[in-house]
């Protein structure tokens, strides 16, 4: 049996990572998964192919899954206003399903 849930994906520069993860934990997510990457937006091009002199501007992609869609949206909103008013980064929200609801 699969249960409806919500995935929130946050793309940010690494130097925001610690703050975002702390916010997620305090906000009561049951976990998160992080992958490293590169990207391009309005500002810098970040690339993983050559050394990044400034590692802190690399991209991290953080995603968390939550059963409670409203709460997930509220967290997404909070991250957006606390971090992405001033800094680079984007947040997206995708409906999904999970198998063991007790884990989330």
């Amino acid at each position: 049996m699969a249960f409806a849930a919500t995935t929130v994906t946050i793309i940010a520069e690494r130097f925001l990572q610690d703050g975002i993860l702390k916010l997620l934990e305090e906000a009561g997510t049951s976990g998160y998964t992080l992958t490293e990457g590169s990207g391009k937006g309005r500002h810098l091009t970040r690339t993983h192919e050559r050394p990044s002199l400034v590692r802190d501007f690399d991209i991290v992609r953080i995603e968390f899954i939550m059963l409670d869609g409203e709460k997930a949206r509220a967290i997404a909103q909070r991250i957006t206003s606390e971090y992405f008013a001033e800094h680079s980064g984007i947040v997206s929200i995708t409906p999904t399903e999970v198998l063991r609801p007790e884990r989330f």
Partner: protein, 335 residues
């Protein structure tokens, strides 16, 4: 006239160095679209190795140092860091199409110090057999941190003024902590401490020093590649940044040289030390400075300050300023 000739000839002679060849080579490889890339993990390891090596060496030898001599150069370094930011603020910052935040972030970066440039200067001095105080590389944080602090404080005050916002003190302590925690300064300080306390001469010579020049050559390759690929960022911002990035390292280096000369007269600071102070002043931070500035001046456009430092400032500091100030020292101090 004669001294100008010998300045030019010493400068030209130094251009034939492996350090510059690798820097230029990296630039050309990137420009021709080569797929050669030094893995990021290796680059970060090299930075660690170089800074740990510089730190160990300084720590091992500092025991014999005469600490009276250290105070004045350190004070001068801090002053220079601040002066560089102020100069940037009243020159670059007043130019048309240049936003104040961008000017302050950029001059903060040029006031701060590049570990790579410092390492290259040490090798260049070694090659010309010009000695310097073992503790001279430890001047690094004394210039680096004040420059970053001043740039961030000025930018914050400016922002408060323009938004009419009130505010308490700017977190100077946080900026200092953030700087010291950066990977380059951490490695340097750890090396200093271990070198001083344990005196691991064999480990230093048999490993860290053994690999120093080789790793430096690879670092230069990386810096050259990065310089080319950041040119695109530089092109996206006002041309004044490019002009600043070309002229200011030389100017800052001259200020550093003059200050070092003062210390030479007052406390006997060595000619090699004077060169290092000049190069530290000429260099701009490439590792720890940018994130500190980005966090501290969020309104600044990174394309401006990273573009100008990485693509022009660093190559100028290494390829022009190091040979220039060594040549100058050879004349001034009749080496």
């Amino acid at each position: 006239m004669e001294s100008l000739a010998s300045l030019v000839s010493s400068f030209v002679a130094q251009l034939q160095s492996a350090t510059l060849a690798f820097l230029l080579g990296g630039f050309l490889l990137a420009a021709t679209g080569s797929k050669l890339a030094i893995p990021d993990a290796v680059y970060r390891f090299i930075i660690f190795m170089l800074l740990m090596s510089v730190g160990l060496d300084a720590g091992i030898e500092v025991r014999e140092a005469d600490f009276d001599q250290l105070a004045l150069p350190a004070l001068l370094a801090a002053l220079i860091g601040c002066v560089i930011v102020l100069i940037g603020s009243v020159t670059l910052g007043r130019l048309p199409k240049v936003r104040r935040e961008d000017a302050l972030a950029t001059s903060g970066l040029f006031g701060a110090v590049s570990a790579s440039t410092l390492a290259a200067a040490m090798v260049a001095l070694d090659e010309r057999a010009i000695p310097f105080e073992a503790w001279a590389p430890a001047l690094y944080p004394f210039m680096d941190i004040p420059a970053l602090i001043l740039a961030i404080v000025l930018a914050t005050l400016h922002k408060r003024k323009s938004t009419g916002e009130q505010g308490g003190k700017v977190g100077v302590g946080a900026i200092i902590a953030d700087s010291l925690r950066g990977s380059a300064l951490s490695a340097l300080l750890l090396g200093l401490a271990i070198g001083f306390l344990i005196q691991p001469q064999d480990l230093y010579e048999g490993f860290y020093d053994l690999l120093f020049r080789g790793f430096l050559s690879i670092l230069m390759l990386v810096l050259g590649m990065e310089a080319y690929s950041r040119l695109a960022e530089l092109r996206s911002v006002a041309q004044w940044f490019a002009a600043y990035a070309v002229i200011s390292p030389i100017l800052h280096g001259l200020i550093g040289f003059a200050a070092g000369y003062l210390a030479h007269i007052l406390v006997g600071f060595s000619p090699g030390g004077v060169v290092l102070l000049a190069v530290i002043a000429a260099s701009n931070s490439d590792i720890s400075g940018p994130p500190t500035l980005r966090a501290g001046i969020p309104g600044a456009n990174p394309s401006a300050f990273i573009g100008s430092s990485t693509s022009l400032g660093t190559p100028i500091a290494i390829a022009v300023c190091i040979p220039l100030f060594i040549a100058l020292a050879e004349i001034v101090f009749v080496l």
